[in-house]
Amino acid sequence: MLVNRTNLPRHVPWMVFALAATVLAITWYVADGLRRPGAAGGGTLPGLSFGIVGGAIIVFEFLLWPRKMVRAWRVGRAEAWLRAHIWLGLLTVPLIVLHSGFRWGGLLSTMLLAMFLIVIASGVAGLLLQQLLPTVMLDELPAETIYTQIDHVLGEIRADADRLVAAVCGTASQGGDGDSAVAGDDRPITFEVMRRVGAVEGRVLEVVLPGEPVPGAELLEQFYHRTVRPFLEPSGVRASTLRMPKQAERAFHELRLRVGPAAEPAVHALEKVCEQRRQFDRQARLHFWLHSWLCIHLPVSAALLGLMALHAWKALEYW
């Protein structure tokens, strides 16, 4: 969730509430602590209260997951849930630390506190990443597509490229895809390419009409099958020279010099396809960092919830 100037007013009430609750909790804890030596733990009235409130908040925090899983639920807007998740989650830090009495305690309470800190740290990290990475993606990835569909879209692009090369070179595609183009297919070939107009950059469709084979088509076809086609495979990025923009630009420049101006539209189209492929790769990496923290945050939260229930039961049984 982005917290910026635009939506800050909607966060302010939560921030004020979390801050006021923290101040109140600390005041109560200190006032009670003046009457007893050492740091009061969960056995005192304030400590127990903080534990109960903190535990209830943690349960609420965890409910965000089913709330997002079951989108048909109309229990408040997801955005409102997320704001509450963030600020109530941060409020649990002082509550749980005061509940612990600044001690790790025994095995279970140590595990709980460690897990709690991991959950908080991963959540804060996720929040920070969400402030940064979406902006980066917006700026740098005009070709962004749905993350889970990258491989599928990549397959479509591969098929388009196969048809283009087959049409331009007058040969059957050797790509191996079932719907690959063959010589004689005179349907227009549509490409998504990146285009910048002024400060705006976005995807536009370009149409290439199949025609007679161009001079130097063998070189184009050879370059395509040796360099471009492997790069368009889902796992072909790492080993390819085309993954670096400068190297790709140099490679296509050399190709242009060798195949002549007649093949320029096809070379240009392939270059744009490769650029899109690079953006998909970068999108995948950014997406990983944008969401991978959840692979820590959620499982540890689940474990925290389970152990917290055990802790509550045992603590109340022997307090």
Binding site: P37, G38, R103, I146, L298, P299, A302
Partner: protein, 511 residues
């Protein structure tokens, strides 16, 4: 123109229900969440497989070494779903299974009695002390004591400082003894300064100490006990018999673990019971500490004959009569040369009998005056209760020297063994400005002496001092453990019930 792919056709390249199929990251996330949930269940379940160790998982931390037997047995101390609260000490809890104890004070308000766990905090590790109570626990009441006591329940004459704070700042000075602060309640005449002076040459004439020229030497002490008082010269050689006697504190004051029984220990072939740890000084005993210099000689003609100690005045009289009668018979054996009467014969005594009686009574009276009126034997140290004009007192007043001066605080002489006696008891030394020449002097240190060490460490090296503990529990025990009859081992501190080993290990709640 052949058919060109439309925008709608291109949009349809991505299936509309794509979101129903989770991506790889989502699948990993779900799998890890499942593993975490299973891990929690497995962790909980594995504890059930080892029930004897399961409790350790949920313990707040290891209990103190004294309770380590019950580390994995929560029920030994806890009553399930009942807090160890103020009611615990009144039988609802399980502390009393092993720990009985008197109330802290008769005048404490019942509602202010803290729970066991309020002061004795457990689960802080094996080496944590359960008796090192934080000052705040004590000051919760003693900071404003009036609000926490029942005035009507206070013992008559009892005075309490209504506000006590930190030892080095807000602790009242010691009242020693409590009944008559600053005055020794003892009725034993004793001049510390004179006894600590070489040769005991000081006269007891009030606060002015003068030399009367008569030195007490080793030769004046019976040979059998002389070695105890023989000192060492500068060269390390033993001082000759002509040397003046120089007593040290240890000549009379011995720790309760001192060498009085060492000879017996060495001589005995069987092990001796453990001795006290040397916290307190043993009471002064005439036979051990006084007799060598103060023999109870009552007649110069009966050299070596002394009155036994202790004896009541009547018994002393009997002793004297028996002694002089035996002496008379030894000197007049003809007195025995007459038929033994089987019953008291009527009529006046014979002249011989009267003569004997007169002689014995004269000597008994002379010895009695020496003992009870003179200044060299009994009367030198003891005070008497007697009728006006009488020689023989009705009784010797009890000495009443306190065995333990700090009756509501502990002190450990052994812990302070490296510190010179003079630093705390300077009045005992003749060269001290406060040299004690009166029996009523109290030679115990005030709080200022204690604070030289028992205070926070001084920051400046030039102002060296402090650093030793200054918590309340350095000297005080809440459960009256500093009281002679209520310390550990006293019946009032006994267990509520006696258990066999199996019961002890399972620590049942008191019936």
């Amino acid at each position: 123109m052949p058919n060109q792919e439309t925008g709608k056709q291109r949009a349809a390249r991505i299936p509309l229900d794509y979101f129903k199929k989770p991506g790889p990251l989502e699948r990993v996330k779900r799998a890890l969440t499942g593993v975490a949930a299973l891990g929690v269940i497995g962790w909980w379940g594995s504890g059930m497989l080892r029930p004897h160790r399961e409790a350790m998982r949920y313990s707040r931390g290891p209990v103190a070494a004294a309770h380590a037997v019950w580390d994995a047995q929560c029920d030994a101390c806890h009553v399930p779903f009942r807090r160890i609260g103020a009611a615990s000490w009144s039988g609802a809890g399980r502390c009393e299974t092993c720990h009985a104890g008197p109330p802290h004070h008769a005048a404490e308000r019942p509602g202010d009695t803290p729970s066991c766990a309020q002061c004795h905090r457990e689960h802080r590790g094996r080496d944590a002390s359960l008796v090192r109570i934080a000052d705040a626990d004590c000051l919760a009441c003693h900071d404003h004591l009036a609000a926490h006591t029942q005035p009507e329940a206070r013992p008559p004459g009892a005075e309490f400082a209504s506000h006590v704070g930190r030892f080095d700042r807000d602790h009242p000075d010691f009242k020693i003894p409590r009944e008559s602060p600053g005055t020794d309640p003892g009725k034993l005449h004793f001049n510390h300064a004179r006894h600590m002076a070489p040769g005991m040459v000081l006269t007891n004439d009030g606060s002015v100490l003068t030399n009367d020229g008569s030195s007490f030497t080793l030769a004046d002490i019976p040979a059998a006990e002389r070695e105890r008082y023989r000192g060492r010269g500068a060269s390390g050689a033993a001082t000759p018999d002509s040397a003046a006697v120089q007593l040290s504190c240890a000549a009379c004051h011995q720790l309760d673990n001192a060498h009085a029984s060492e000879a017996a220990e060495h001589a005995a072939s069987r092990p001796q019971p453990a001795r006290p740890r040397g916290a307190y000084m043993l009471p002064i005993r005439y036979d051990e500490h006084c007799r060598a210099c103060h023999p109870l000689t009552f007649d110069t003609e009966l050299a070596g004959r002394t009155v036994p100690h202790p004896l009541a005045p009547d018994a002393v009289q009997d002793f004297l009569e028996n002694t002089y009668a035996a002496q008379y018979l030894l000197e007049h054996p003809e007195s025995l040369d007459r038929p033994a009467a089987t019953r008291t014969m009527p009529g006046p005594s014979s002249e011989q009998q009267n003569k004997a009686r007169d002689a014995i009574e004269r000597k008994v009276a002379t010895a009695g005056r020496l003992l009870f009126l003179g200044q060299t034997t009994c009367a030198e140290c003891h005070a008497f209760e007697r009728q006006a004009g009488a020689v023989v007192p009705e009784q010797v007043l009890p000495t009443d020297v306190p065995t333990v001066w700090y009756r509501h605080a502990t002190f450990d002489h052994a812990a302070h063994r490296a510190v010179s006696c003079r630093d705390c008891h300077g009045g005992a030394y003749p060269d001290s400005p406060q040299a004690s020449v009166k029996s009523s002097d109290v030679l115990l240190p005030g709080i200022a002496v204690c604070r030289r060490c028992h205070a926070p460490a001084q920051a400046l090296a030039s102002d060296r001092g402090g650093g030793a503990g200054f918590a309340c529990t350095e000297c005080h025990r809440y459960h009256n453990g500093d009281h002679p009859l209520e310390g550990l081992g006293a019946p009032r501190r006994g267990a509520a019930v006696e258990l066999n080993i199996e019961q002890f290990l399972s620590a049942p709640a008191p019936k």
